[in-house]
Symmetry: C3
Subunit: 223 residues, 3 copies
């Protein structure tokens, strides 16, 4: 389960050591961590890291198949997590040490910056291959953070991007060796810790107003 730690001005949220899929309890734990980050005072920033082979593999499809009647509620909660991360009033950096797939990839895009391991692990939106169309809110999020060309290729072809390709396509901002992914992310976050506060929150909320509105529109198609 996600665990929050603090190194001076930088909170480090570790998403876990498994596939780190979005189980309802996992989502609740991430929200609790974000609550703590938001409630804290003074300069601060957030790094979202993980341990092992995966950063996050996205939706918890096992749980979802076992709770088909809660499908709509579940998607609303995933949208809520993406929207909250996108508009968090502190600078956020995703430290992608492992595979970052599907809704996991979307959660990484909801961060302000991404550092990815250079030599192993893939960033991938497999939805076109597994026959799950992006919801309008997910589509809006992805398109708002990428060039039209990269969004089109990533969303239609389900291409798996290694670190170097992900950097070239603008999916991530930096690549690093396995040993330095988290440290690079922490340094990036620390340099922006003084930005934390309501002004930053307003800037993000206005930049992504239409994305946030689509993510929070429970009347839009959810599947």
């Amino acid at each position: 389960m996600p665990i929050l730690d603090r190194e001076d001005d930088v909170f480090v949220l570790d998403l876990g050591a498994g596939e780190n899929r979005f189980h309802p309890d996992w989502i609740a734990a991430v929200h609790a961590a974000l609550d703590e980050v938001e409630k804290a005072d003074g300069p601060r920033a957030l790094v979202t890291a993980a341990t092992g082979k995966f950063w996050s593999n996205g939706l918890d499809l096992d749980w979802l198949f076992a709770h088909a009647d809660r499908h709509e509620e579940y998607v609303v909660s995933v949208h809520g997590l993406l929207a909250r991360t996108l508009s968090l009033p502190v600078v956020t950096v995703a430290a992608l040490q492992g595979h970052t797939f599907a809704a996991g990839a979307m959660l990484s895009l909801a961060h302000d910056f991404r550092v990815m391991r250079a030599d192993r692990g893939y960033w991938c939106l497999p939805e076109a291959d597994i026959n799950i169309p992006f919801t309008p809110g997910m589509s809006a999020l992805i398109q708002s953070r990428l060039t039209a060309r990269t969004a089109h290729e990533a969303m239609l072809t389900a291409r798996r991007y290694g670190g170097t390709d992900a950097l070239a396509a603008g999916l991530v901002d930096r690549v690093a060796d396995e040993d330095s992914v988290r440290r690079t992310a922490v340094e990036t976050a620390r340099a922006q810790a003084a930005k934390a506060g309501p002004t930053l929150g307003t800037i993000k909320a206005r930049m992504y107003a239409s994305v946030l509105e689509t993510l929070r529109d429970t009347a839009a198609p959810l599947g």
Copy 2:
């Protein structure tokens, strides 16, 4: 006139050996080809190619001047072709062996990917030079597929991009020798043939929802 052929999983639509302008009959023939591609079953993708010096020179201005009273209906039909191509539920690749101008250039942007001949032929939006402003729908289409910088330069300066410049500006995804433009496009399309189907259609329709709405809004300015 446009002719549809099939090479295994890849349909190849040849737009013609002339200027391949959008005469009403030509538009109808393209639609008939797209009908066939849509109706087919199983893995499939589309390459839109042409023969000779032009891929397409855009609107059929001769026909339009001779039928001024049908101007509005004509623009609606052009918008319809662009919208349908943009949301086709198979992966589409434009094989630009020759000049690709004006509405021809827009039709190329409605494809998922573009391969352009490296050493001859231009991609150009001459509208600012010939005093025909882009309709809001055309503007939305062009802007949705390019970086802001490339769209601005292409739409305001009517610059003619050769293959290498078009690649650098992100107007096309690949360049190739004269002999291999079509083959490269077919290979690109074949690799994505398994994506064909309603999920891909939904992904495209949601990504470009606002563009499609503007293209189909017959109340918007058409000239």
Copy 3:
């Protein structure tokens, strides 16, 4: 105060030799210059230059603090200047010989193209540092002219971009030596002088319709 000059087809507007902040009188003088450019006939283009260490340092905060009761009216007038520049029916080029900050940077983005001095001077949006969130209209303008990645970094981190970095990030289109910034801008403008006219105005107005609407929406948050 701003002074308008003409070199054949190219109008050169010099924003001044000071910090060239947006005092109401300064704004009025810029509008008077734009009136003259708009009213002129025939081929023409506009270069907006300045003299000294600054191109423009943005809002006149001294004036604004002394006239707190006119805050809303002031922001409306700044929005109006940005909107008018963005939709001017002639090609516009900003010749950035010195610091270009905050609303000054936004005014530069409202031009069609930017040439920046390579070796000195910064382009910067310091709003996140000085606790002044971008208005929705300013946010829309900035985001409409930059890649998502550059807009995100520039707006959230208040990074100061020197000429070379600004070129790499796509904030400017060209860099030049101190001596040739203005000349390069004039040459760029002259090459597009024949484009002046209502078609160009319509193309710009349609490309940036939603930005212009947001800038002109006096009901939107202004602070």
